[in-house]
Symmetry: C2
Subunit: 342 residues, 2 copies
C-alpha cells in the first residue's frame, strides 16, 4: 500500500461513514442498517438466530502471515458458520473493530474489502457495529443474525441412539495450514528466508480463507433432511463431537477410516510426520458441519458427495470411542484448541 | 477477594458453564439461549432492533477506579440505552469478553454479577457470547436485541421544523464524575493519599453505574407519544444533537438556561472552575435520551418531570446554535469524546 492516511484525520464518525458508504442491502427484512443507535430487522413469521465471536490479534490470528482482506473475510465466515450450524440462513451481521494507531485507513479498507466480499458471497447485510481505538492489537467482534422457519433450528442436543454421524468436506487441512505458516514464520525470523508455500495452496487457503457450508444447509432443505443435532467444527472433530454427545446425553462410535481428508493435506502431514487423523481430531478451524441424522435418511445423505458418514450415535453407557484403522478402540478425548491455556 | 482460581484450570467450556449456569430467561421470545452455536429468538409480528458496542480497557474504562461489578452493569446498560433510543424494548443480549491471565475467576464472577444485575433490572436475557484470552487488558463486546411494534422505531433522521428538542434527566454529571476520579487517581499516584469522594456520590455513580431511560420509553407508550427523532447521549449534547440535525437535514436552536443540571454536580463543576454547560455539551456518557417531538405533544411532555424542553428544530439554512444565558448566539460544534484522537 502506497498511501497512509491517519485514521485520526477522519474522526470516528468520518471513519464510520468512510467504511460503510458502500454497503448494499441484500435482505428485505433489513429495515434499518448502519447509522443509527441500533439496526432494525423484520422477522414476521420466522425465527431469529444469533451468534457472536470475538477475535483478538495474537490469540486468534497472526497478522505477520494473515492478509487483512482474508482476515475480514474469515471474521464474517466463522460467524456465518455458527448460523448455518443451527440450520438457519444468515441475513445480517454487526461488526465492531478496535485497532491501535499502527493501522492506517488503507489497512482498514483492506479488512473491510474482505468483510464486504464475504457479505456478497453469503448475501448478508452489514447493519451496524462500533469502531474504537485499542491500546494494543486488532480486535474484532462479529455478531451474525439468521432466520429459520419456525422450530426448524437444529441444536447440539438432539442426537438419538443409532443416528448416523456425518461431516461435510474434509478435515485437518486448516490445522496443517497453520502448522506450515507457523513453521515458515519461524524460519523467516531465524534465517530471513522467504516462505516456501509451493504446492500448499489448499491448506493455506483452508486456514486463511475458510468458507461456511451454505451448500449443505441448502441441500437439507432441498432433500427435506432435518438433522437431529448439528455443530460447526471450530475446535476439532473430537471436541465438537463430544459437545454433541454430552449435550445429547449419548455415546458414539467414530471410524478412523471414514474421516475425510484432502490428498494434498494428507501428503503434507506425512512429510511433517504428523498423523492426519490427529490433525482432524484435535486441529481446529475446519468450519465444516458435523451433524447427526436418523438412519432413515441414509439414502439422502449417501448421494451427496460433500457429506461423509463417519460413525453412529450409541447409548451413553457405551461411552465415546474411535475405532482405528487397525480395529483398536480408543476413548475419544477433547484436545481441541483451548485459547485459555495458551 | 480472598480466593484466586486460575481460569485455565476450568478450560473454556468449564468457564462458560460456570459463568452462565445461573442465567434466568425473562422473555417468552427467547427460544434458545447460551450453549449452542447461536441463540434463537421468536419475533412473530414484532420488529427486531440490534445494537453492539466494544469496550476496551484503557480506552473506555480504567480498572484502577472502576469496580468490575459496576463495569459489568454498565457494559449492559450502555447497549440497552441504544435500544431504548430506537423507542424499542430490549429483550436479549449477547456478551463476549477477552481477558489476560491477570484476571482470576473471582474477578470474572464480579463482572458477571454486574451483568446479571443489569439483566434483572431491565428484564433482558443473556443468550450467548464468546470468551477468549487477550494479550493485554479486558475487552468487552455486547450486542443488545430489542423489539418494537411494527414501524414504531424512531430514527435520528426524522426531526421536523419547529419540533421541540427534549432531553431526559440531567447532563454533565458523568463527565464530572470522570474528572473527579481521574483527579483523585493522579493524586493517589503522586502522593499515595486515598481518594476523597465525600459528597460526590452522585457524579461518581453517574459515571460508574449509569442507568438507561427505560421509564421514558414506557412513558411514550403510555402517553401515546411517538418522537420524530431520538438518540442516546453518549458523546455529549452538542455532538449528539448535531447527529440528529445532520441526519434530519435540519438546524436547531438550543437554550443554555434550559439545560438540566444536578445541583451537586453543578457545585462540583464550579469548585473545579469548570463551566457546567460545557460539561453537558462536550462531556459524554450521560446515557440520557435526546429526542424531538411535534409541538402538538407539548402538553404531554411538560407534565413529565423527567423531561426538559431545551430548544427547537429550525430550518437547515438557519444553522445550529446555542443561545447563552446572556442572550449571545454561538455556533454549536461537536467536541464529544473522540476515542480515535486519544
Amino acid at each position: 500500500m502506497d498511501q497512509r492516511t491517519e485514521i485520526a484525520s477522519l474522526g470516528e464518525f468520518g471513519l464510520i461513514e468512510h467504511l460503510t458508504k458502500n454497503i448494499e442491502i441484500n435482505n428485505a427484512s433489513t429495515l434499518l442498517g448502519v447509522g443509527d443507535d441500533a439496526a432494525v430487522i423484520d422477522h414476521f413469521g420466522r425465527q431469529t438466530v444469533l451468534s457472536t465471536d470475538l477475535l483478538i490479534e495474537g490469540i486468534h490470528f497472526d497478522l505477520s502471515y494473515t492478509p487483512l482482506k482474508h482476515l475480514g473475510y474469515k471474521s464474517v465466515v466463522v460467524n456465518l458458520s455458527d448460523i448455518y450450524a443451527m440450520n438457519a440462513v444468515p441475513t445480517q451481521i454487526l461488526l465492531s473493530i478496535g485497532f491501535s494507531n499502527r493501522y492506517s485507513l488503507e489497512a482498514l479498507d483492506e479488512f473491510y474489502a474482505g468483510v464486504y466480499a464475504a457479505c456478497e458471497t453469503y448475501k448478508v447485510d452489514l447493519i451496524g457495529g462500533d469502531t474504537s481505538s485499542s491500546q494494543k492489537g486488532f480486535i474484532i467482534s462479529v455478531t451474525a443474525i439468521g432466520e429459520v422457519a419456525p422450530d426448524s433450528f437444529v441444536k447440539r442436543s438432539g442426537a438419538q441412539e443409532n443416528d448416523l454421524i456425518c461431516v461435510s468436506g474434509e478435515l485437518g487441512s486448516a490445522f496443517l495450514g497453520l502448522t506450515l505458516l507457523e513453521r515458515e514464520k519461524k524460519i523467516f525470523e531465524e534465517t530471513g528466508s522467504q516462505p516456501d508455500l509451493e504446492g500448499q495452496a489448499h491448506i493455506v487457503r483452508r486456514l486463511l480463507k475458510p468458507e461456511a457450508r451454505k451448500d449443505i444447509i441448502e441441500y437439507f432443505t432441498e432433500a427435506e433432511i432435518l438433522p437431529s443435532s448439528m455443530i460447526d467444527l471450530s475446535d476439532g472433530l473430537s471436541s465438537d463431537l463430544l459437545h454433541i454427545c454430552n449435550q445429547s446425553k449419548m455415546g458414539c462410535v467414530l471410524y478412523e477410516d471414514k474421516i475425510p481428508f484432502n490428498e494434498e493435506a494428507k501428503e503434507f502431514a506425512y512429510k511433517l510426520q504428523l498423523d492426519p487423523t490427529a490433525c482432524a481430531l484435535s486441529g481446529g478451524e475446519d468450519y465444516e458441519l458435523l451433524f447427526t441424522v436418523a438412519q432413515a435418511d441414509y439414502d439422502k445423505i449417501k448421494v451427496n458427495p460433500s457429506i461423509s458418514i463417519i460413525g453412529y450415535i450409541a447409548p451413553e453407557s457405551e461411552g465415546k470411542h474411535l475405532i482405528t484403522r487397525g480395529g483398536n478402540k480408543h476413548k475419544l478425548i477433547a484436545q481441541g484448541w483451548n485459547h485459555l491455556n495458551k
